[in-house]
């Protein structure tokens, strides 16, 4: 469970990224955060694994106050939180399998990881996860040989191999074309349901949000302006979140 209690964040350049956020996300939810760029979506997400530290309030993940964790406890928490980035963040020169094994680094001793000695069951796990998203035959291919959509699916396999409880995906399909976007979102939703993971996705395409979310949180200027199950959401809701009519480019299409 993830809780935000009266969380505020003011960046050093005095930008108020988050204003008094109160929010609870239950285990196993698939939440999509929507809002225009600069609304505070990324900042909200970064608070969860302390890539940024709130200037006020508390973020509580699994009953631990994130801002009070010591360095080693923080690393432990981070192994529980998988992140999917907009630009995949793979090491381009390494093979797909090695990139997926990067997800195991937090569970592997430093010495063993330096000499690439991973337990066989970890390698089995990595391979199984590649199979789940259908790119196991590319395991030994250099990752820069893959298309954008394939690379993003490798990064999903990497996150799964980390065996996290929470997945944070920050604009995971912003660099992809419509059919690939759908495939990545489908894969992400499927595996997170299969493993019972809490998943938070930042999106700015409203049709993708409508199609894949269980619950939608709308943000504008650092505040939560909408929070409700997908059944309550219509195009009107998005117009309220954005504060203006929806434009065609805010839909990804099929």
């Amino acid at each position: 469970m993830i809780e935000f209690k009266d969380v505020s964040l003011i960046y050093p350049n005095r930008v108020e990224a988050l204003k008094n956020i109160d929010l609870t996300i239950e285990k196993g939810e698939f939440v999509v955060i929507v809002g225009m760029s600069g609304a505070g979506k990324s900042t909200l997400m970064k608070c969860i694994n302390r890539m940024v530290v709130p200037t006020g309030g508390e973020v509580i993940v699994d009953n631990q106050i994130v801002s009070q964790l010591k360095e080693s406890k923080l690393r432990q928490l981070r192994t529980q939180i998988g992140i999917i980035f907009q630009d995949y963040n793979l090491v381009k020169r390494m093979s797909v399998l090695r990139n997926v094994m990067v997800g195991r680094l937090g569970h592997t001793s430093t010495f063993n990881s330096l000499i690439s000695r991973f337990p066989q069951e970890d390698l089995q796990l990595a391979m199984k996860n590649l199979k789940r998203i259908g790119i196991d035959e590319k395991a030994y291919v250099r990752s820069d040989q893959l298309s954008g959509g394939q690379q993003q699916r490798v990064s999903i396999a990497r996150v799964l191999t980390q065996q996290p409880k929470i997945i944070l995906a920050d604009e995971p399909v912003a660099s992809l074309d419509p059919p690939t976007s759908h495939q990545v979102m489908r894969d992400l939703k499927r595996v997170s349901k299969e493993d019972g993971l809490t998943t938070i996705v930042n999106l700015h395409f409203i049709d993708l949000a409508m199609e894949y979310a269980d619950r939608i949180i709308g943000m504008r200027e650092g505040e939560i302006v909408f929070d409700g199950p997908i059944a309550e959401v219509t195009e009107k809701t998005f117009e309220e979140i954005y504060g203006r009519p929806i434009r065609e480019e805010e839909k990804r299409g099929d």
Partner: protein, 267 residues
Amino acid sequence: MNNQKKISLRSQRSVKQKTIITLIVTSLVLLYAFSLWSQDFTIASSQSSPLTILYRLFIVPIIDPTYWSSFVENSLLMLETVAIAYAGGIAASLFALPLAVFSAKNSGGKVSYVGKVILNAIRSIPELLFGVFFVAAVGPGSFAGVLAISINSIGMIGKLYAESIESIDRAPVDAIKASGGNRLQAFWYGILPQILPQFLSISLFRFEIDVRASTILGLVGAGGIGVPLILSQQQRHWEEVGVILIIVIVFVVVIDQLSGKIRTKLV
């Protein structure tokens, strides 16, 4: 169509720009004229014509069997030169590593310019000077050559290493740290795979240069093929000089080709 304003590919230059360009071009032309005029083109008297020397350099050693044995002898010395370059190059690659980390902007931080200044200073001293210095310090022989090559190469290798460290992609490092990896793991899995092929390629490229440089270093007594080269040249023993030059050319060409091939495979 005709009433459209004409579009030129280049933006219009102002009068000031035109004057500056004219000034630069004229001064370059004048500089060239002056340097030509200041040369002394008279040929000092010589006992043998350039053609005979060329003949004795490159034809006689090949057609006259008496010189064939000296090919073997000098090839061994050339191997010593290659060994000097190799040893010096490896030492330089190792020493350049910390200097490069120190002088790259993203890893060295605010004091990175100190490292850059050191590397620049090393690079601005010619290797022959290092050769003379080390021959004086440790005596003539290949050890002086190795020292001269290694110190001299640090300048260039360090600078190129630093540039490749500066150009790395930080994103995978963030990904590893965010998933709970520690700093060493982030370096090993996020940075090393990005820089290692480039580092190898840089060191190989420098090795090519070092083979040529250590040939020259023999001239000041720092071991290898350069020693017999300078001796036979001073005795005007052109056939012997020819043998050595042919060996040097063959070795340098082969090494450059090989290392070029390896380098394209690496990156």
